[in-house]
Structure formats: structure tokens, C-alpha cells
Symmetry: C2
Subunit: 549 residues, 2 copies
Amino acid sequence: MVAAMCTAAAFVSVPAHADQLIDNVQGIRINEDGKAERFTALLVGDDGKIEQVLKRGDPMPEGVEYRLDGQGKYLIPGLIDSHLHVMGLGFGALTLDLSGTNSLAEAQEVIANYAAENPQVRWIIGRGWNQEKWGLGRFPTAAELDAVVADRPVWLERVDGHAGWANTMAMDLAGVSAATKAPSGGNIVRASGSRQPTGIFVDNAAALVQKAVPTPRPEDRDLALSKAQEILLSYGITAAADMGTTIEDWQSFRRAGDNGWLRMRIMSYAAGVGAMELIGGPGPSPWLYEDKLRLNGVKLYLDGALGSRGAWLKKDYADDPGNTGLPLQTPDQLRNLMSRAALDRFQLAIHAIGDAANSEVLNAIEELSFTYEGDRRWRIEHAQIVDAAELAKFGKHGTIASMQPVHQTSDRTMAEARLDPPRLEGAYAWRSMLGNDAGLVFGSDAPVESPDPFAGLAAAISRTGPDGKPFGGWRPEEVVNREEALAGFTSWGAYAGFAEGKFGRLAPGERADFVFIDRDLLLASPSEIRETKVLQTWVGGMRVYSADQ
Amino acid sequence: MVAAMCTAAAFVSVPAHADQLIDNVQGIRINEDGKAERFTALLVGDDGKIEQVLKRGDPMPEGVEYRLDGQGKYLIPGLIDSHLHVMGLGFGALTLDLSGTNSLAEAQEVIANYAAENPQVRWIIGRGWNQEKWGLGRFPTAAELDAVVADRPVWLERVDGHAGWANTMAMDLAGVSAATKAPSGGNIVRASGSRQPTGIFVDNAAALVQKAVPTPRPEDRDLALSKAQEILLSYGITAAADMGTTIEDWQSFRRAGDNGWLRMRIMSYAAGVGAMELIGGPGPSPWLYEDKLRLNGVKLYLDGALGSRGAWLKKDYADDPGNTGLPLQTPDQLRNLMSRAALDRFQLAIHAIGDAANSEVLNAIEELSFTYEGDRRWRIEHAQIVDAAELAKFGKHGTIASMQPVHQTSDRTMAEARLDPPRLEGAYAWRSMLGNDAGLVFGSDAPVESPDPFAGLAAAISRTGPDGKPFGGWRPEEVVNREEALAGFTSWGAYAGFAEGKFGRLAPGERADFVFIDRDLLLASPSEIRETKVLQTWVGGMRVYSADQ
């Protein structure tokens, strides 16, 4: 009924020019062929995307509004951590750390200061104490905690996580008393000649107090996310794969995006298919907030870790006859969960550490690939201990090995204790993965390890630890070269998260995510790489971190 | 370390002009003083906001790129429904609808046909039955459902959503038997002289069967949301308060926003404080998607409905001696829930239908207002039966009565049966609310009633039903005038959702949400208003519904 009489759609639209030239830098990027390439300047459009990568001698581009003098500093693509736990990193950084204390008195001082500096914290949670290191010759007591904090409950985990130290208010709130019985597999330390708990709860008994610790409030979660961003950006990490996103985590990510304080990019993998369906609904989310957030898929667990002998092995642990670890899913359960995700095109990221677990996931991928065709990018997270005879399977069906270089250097002696030499043939086998044409991406598994990507880069090219040991590297035939290591922390990480073309390579059309550092990663020695200082971090053409501020 | 050498920030920025003039209309808007005002044209900017409201004789504005000839049609502000259930409306439209049935036999026939036409449906879900309308004088039974559908479970919600009707298979699948106890705040109707459930589950007891109903998949939810939008926009409703948003509902709203198919505005009230905290986190969400979505606060229930005798009365139901209905919260529970929400500045919207329930909420608001000061806009949803002596309390502390005009016309005879005349003094007392300076906003409670706002407008100014009865209107002293009725469905609705200045009045600076209709609401008779045809619906300056397409 309403006839539209329109004049010609004569839009007068002059785009605002605000291109900025990041000039006079010693730039390194990974090109289309995966080769490192040097450049001297970046032209960034007002949309925060790369317009041009300039090499020495290239003519000055037109339309430049701003020029930033890089003063000859080194510039690399924003680093991508392909496996970490964003909220875990943030919460960990916000809790009290006693691992540096050398005496009970010193610990008490640290605790008192923390309490004074954090009046808003309802429960004081911490970890890292070690009465052996203190030379105490006994466990500390609730009374010794009450002496410094009596107004709030305090709950502190021992360095090995196998005991907890509570003050009196924490025990009261938990309803723990002389009448409380210890659960099986746990021990309540009691005062000599009485049943009164002294404040130390060992192994399973720790749950008696733990259950009274309140779950974090949304504002606590937002604080943790903010802290995690601050830490990651300070390390030059501009994008990360969050492994195990809960709906509460996701809501915090969205609050950050909705309110304009999401400064890094998060590729999210939901904590199980329930969270996957609630967060993503009928499929992966779109890229949100200018490519800063997307639910890519789901994180599943098939086994545990090597240290706790939870990794599922084909044969007994060398140091624990009769124990092979165990699978957390039956073969049917694993395939059902994978099918439910793949059916709706969610990406699978499956935790597998032991050789039996990796074998099982590889077989499941082989089977499901016939039903779920196309570009699936099946991810196996950790892929630490693999039967050498099965390494070649990683090259099939577009499988990606998501590995953490620092785990190799940290786990080395433990792995040698848990496994006999033949089973180490396929352990942390980075070079073999590439040799078999498997996808290979690197991460930190923070907060399990430090998120420092330069420690990861150094380990990746040397297979030596911070102490430079073992001389020449552990099973050095599995090192990757500098270009591969950098690609593993940048462009390949973007590909593993379906983000190629959006960020990761500093190519024209991609988001301008880059980092100023103080040295040349193509020339520095592994130990020098470990010492790399991040000067500035930029995301989407905006500076989001500066060391001198 | 990096010195920024910038040229003067010489932005060349010429805004694109695409103003459109909605011309030659017979417009009606509510002005700042709540008075109806006529206009002839609207100038809408390319940001979808009103730039100018033109009256007859005003000069043609400059910078007009498009002119839309309204051909003299009537134009009103987009209508705002202040109380409905978006997903319920969508799912309702996609499920078996018994609201049109006038007898048990007719309902049985409709159910049998639906079952035959939908063999793939695992559970037959429906709603809308009303034993009062059927003149049954009792609740229907499971046996009467089994007679038409015995091969599949059937679960049918009463018209007011406060009771459910199950067949035997549904009760078996839910594990409900003579041994099942009713939860507090609920009632299982049992055969006289036995404990055998008859198939009717009132209020909280409905959950006993509901829990056995398979939950919809995300794609089902998106389909329901899309259907609800289609229905509401076809009625000229451009914004609605969603009462009882779950996290699943919210995720569907966000998918619509993220993917660009959210075409109407939703002011969300979470289904309880758990959903409130999960959706909003530390407080109400920001306005999202250009003012199309916001979590305003939380919906709480204090009692049930009149039809199922779940409304909480000060004295016995006139037609059910010994029954006063029941509160769903203790006074302490209510205050604790209200405090938890108000503490974080979430808005409260509390369902209260009986006089005892309204009295209790008014007292709670009175008490909490001392602690939670400022602009709270406490909402009482329905406010149907109020002790006449307490009507004045609605005028205090910025309380808003959120009422549904059609409930009055639908409930009239039932209310007269449930309540003796003295208790009808304060029933559906719209005029008294305004007289006491209370906030008053109108809605439909869809899918409990049709979302048709013109039926609501007609009822609001006449207190007569579609049949024109009772002659002169039921307790006509409580009618509101046309301006008040229109404001109740537009500008006041925006205010009740903290959206004043964003939409609701067609004032300069507000979003251009408007509706073309086929008659003059200031001149048409109530029965003519009921027949109003919506020709086109526009949201944010874009046409989102047209009757002739």
C-alpha cells in the first residue's frame, strides 16, 4: 500500500583516511610458504587491518595520516598460544603464592600483607607452601594462621597439592571439628592426645574444607579475565585457544566484548558437549567483536597426565608395574561425543597424552572421517607419548597435533622414569609430526606452565631447559627450526583455530596484531630467546600493552 | 621506547547523508506531557533515529535523500508489550493450541487430529485449555486424554500456565504415581477417596511431569524465536518485556543479534536470580545490537493464578472454602531474593495476582526501599486483585503496576465466581493506579492471551470483551482514556524498561520504531479498534513487516 518514491540513491560517502605507517622496524613475518621474511614497515588502515607490508626500498605509500617511528626495534606477528586456560591463568595469578617463602615467619608476613592489600577478598586462597623448605620439621597449624588472619577464612594448598592448611574460621565455616571423620584416602592431622584438627588436611581430606570455599562471583570472573589478558598481552600473546570454556567463562568473555574491554583474541573450545551446545547452540558461533571471540568447538578428555600416572598407556608404567593409567571414556562414549559435536560442525580438540589414548583418538578420527567429511581440522591436544609406529597416522584426515614445547623440557626426567626407552621413540615428536605432514601448533598449557612463549620457542628449537640441559638437547632429532617454531606460535595456530586470513601472518587484509621485542629471533641463541623482552603489544592496530607504562 | 611522531590528526570525514522522509501520514504520538499529538511526517536519519517530527505546514527539511509517501495512512509509535513470554509465544505457535476449544469434546478432537497429523512428534505438547471456558465445572482427567492418545505421552498446559494435564503415559514416563508427594507450592489433583493422580498438576507440581519432557534443541529455540518475532511484528509490536528469560532463551536472543536476524527489541527479565546472575553477571547487561536487547532484571513469582486458584488471597476463595491459594515464597525468601537482585541494581519484576500476594510485595518494596534507594522502578506484574485499602501504596517508591487489559475481560466471570463483590473493589483497577500516581504499563501476557495489542487497547478504554459485554463495561470507573491506553502500550512501557529516550515516543533522537495502521485510534470505537489492521511495521527506520507481502 505504501509506494516508495525514491530519488536515485546518491550516497555521498567519503571514507575517512587515517592510515598509519609503522615505520623503521626490523620486521619478521611468516609468508604464504611458511618461510620467514623480513620487512621494514607496516601500513595499517583505520579498520585495524594490514594494508601493505613494506620491504627496504619500497616507495612511501600514499594516504598516510600517522607515522610511528619503530626506531629500528624488532617486530614479529602477535603470538598465538594454541592451548591454555584463560580463566585458570587469571584466577591463579590472583591467588596468594607462597612458593617463594623460606620460613614460616616469612610466609606469615606474606599472608598478612596479602590480607591487608586485598580487603575485598572474602576467602583468602593460596598455594605453594612447603614446610620442608621452611626447615620447620612439622606441619604448620591453624593457630599460626589465626595469628596473622583471624577475620576471614584462609585456605592454603601445599606446593604439591596434596595437603591444605586452614585457619580456624575456615574450619568452622566448613563445619570441621574433632568429631569429623577423615574420608578414605585422606587424613586429618590432629593435636597429639586429642581429636582436635590442627589445620592440616591431607589428600582426600582436603575436600572437607575445599567444599566450603565459595564459587567465584561474576565480578571475580571478570577480574580474573582482565588479569589473564594483562599477563598474556605482556608476553606478546595476542590470541589464544581457551581449552575448556564453561558457560560462566563465556559470559565473562562476552561481557568483556560487550563493554569494550576484550583486548585479545580468544578461540574457545567448550568444556564438554553440554557447554558446547549451551554456548554455541546449533553450531560454532560467528566471529564476534571484530574477530576477537569465537566458539570453535569442544574440548574432550580421553586420559589424564603423566605425572599423576593418569595418562593411558599401552603397557604398564615402568615405575609402577600393573598400572597402565586409564581412559576417561569408553570407545563408544568417545565416538558418541565426537559425533554429536562433528554433526553440527563443531571442531574437536581431544586431550590425549598416553600412547594408548593417542592410538584410540587416531582410530576414532579414522572412523569418523568417513561420515564427517570436509575440512574438520581434528585436534589432538598434547599428543605427548605416541607409539612410534602410529606417528604417521597424524598425517591423515587433516589431523593437528597441538603440543606444548615446555612440557618436554619440564617432563623429561619424569618421562624417563615413567617410560622405558622404546616408548620414548614417539615422545614429544615435533619433527616427526612435520615429517608426516601432520598439522603442528604450539602452546603453553598455562597455568600448568608459564604462558611465556619465548620459553616455548627456545625449547622448540633446542629441546633444552632453562639450565641448558641436557647438553645438545633431549632426543635432538625432534627439534623444529626457527621458522617452524615461529609458525607454530603464529600462522599455524591461526589455521588450527579456523582463523587463517584473519590474523597470524601480518599479511595484507589480516588484523594488525604484532609485537615489538628487543632482539632478533632468527639470530638469537635459545638462551637469548628465553630472555626476550616484550616492548609493546598491538592488537587490531591498537597498542594494548607497553613495557614502559 | 617508540616515539610517536604524528601529523595533525586531519581526519577527512564527511558523514554519508541518507535521511529519509516518511511523508504524508496521519501520525499520532505521545508527547512529553503524555498527551496525544498529531503529525504529518517523520524525518529519519541513516542511523535509524528520528531527526524531526513534522506537523502540517512545517517547511520541507534539508538533506532528504529518500521520500516515502505514506499515502495518508495512519502511523503510530511501535507498540510495546510490557509482559509476555517470547519463547513461550514462539513454541506455543509451533505446538498444539487448545485456546480455541469450547468444550472437552472439541479439545479431544483437536488433540486426536494433531496426533494424527504429527506422527514424528515424540511428546505431544500443547497449551491453552480452560475447563472454565468449557463449562466443565471440574478439571479434565488423564483418562479423557488416554481416550484420544494412548500411544505417546501428552502434556498440556492450562491457558494460564499454572496447571498441566497429563495422559497416563506421560505420568508413567515421569514416574508419577499415588506414592508421589506434591512439592511445596504445588498440588497433585487426586481421585476422590484415593491417592491416584487424576492427571492434573498445579503450579510447582507441574514440574513433576515437565521434567520428563525432552528439552528443545537450540535450533528448535531459534525457530521459536523467529516465529515469535514474526507474530509480534505482524501485530505492530516492536518491543517487548520478556518475563522469565532462561540462559537458553538468552543464548537464542544473542544468536539472533550476532547473526543479524533480531528484528524487534527485547527487554529481558531473567527466570530467577540464578539465571539473572548467569546472564547479567555483576549487573544488568548493556543495551546490545543498537538497543535491541538488554537484560534489565529478574522476574520472581510470589503466587499463581486465579483460574487454577493458585493466586494467594487474604481470605478463602468464594467458590472453594478453606482454600486461600498459596505463596510460592516465604516473606524472608522473597526479601532475600529481592535484595540479592537490588544489591546489583537489577530491576525487580514480581508476579503478584492475589490480594495477599500484592500486599506482601508492596510491604517488601516499602521495606527494601530504605536500603536500595534511587530510581528502582519496582514492577509488580499483573497486580490483579488488590485490597482496595492498599491501592494507594502503588503510588510509592516509584512502583509500577504492569497489567494486562485483556485479562480483565477474559477473567471477569471467573473472578466474580472466585471472589465476593467487596474483593472486586480493587480488581484490575487501572484508573485507580493512575489516580494514585502509580506507574501503569500494559501487556498481553502472551501466549496466555493473544499478543494483539489492539484487543488490549480496546479493553483498556472500554472494559468490555469482544462481544461488547457487559454493556457499558465491567466496573467502568476503572477505564483509562485513549491517550493513557496508548501511552501504556508505548512510552510508559519504554520507561518501565529503562528505555525512555531510546524508543517509545517517536521523539527526535529516539529509534524510528513505528507502525502503519488502517484507522484512527483516537476516533475509532472500541469494537473498531479491535479490527485494526497493521499494514507495515518499522524498527530502527527499517521496514520489518508488511501485510501485503
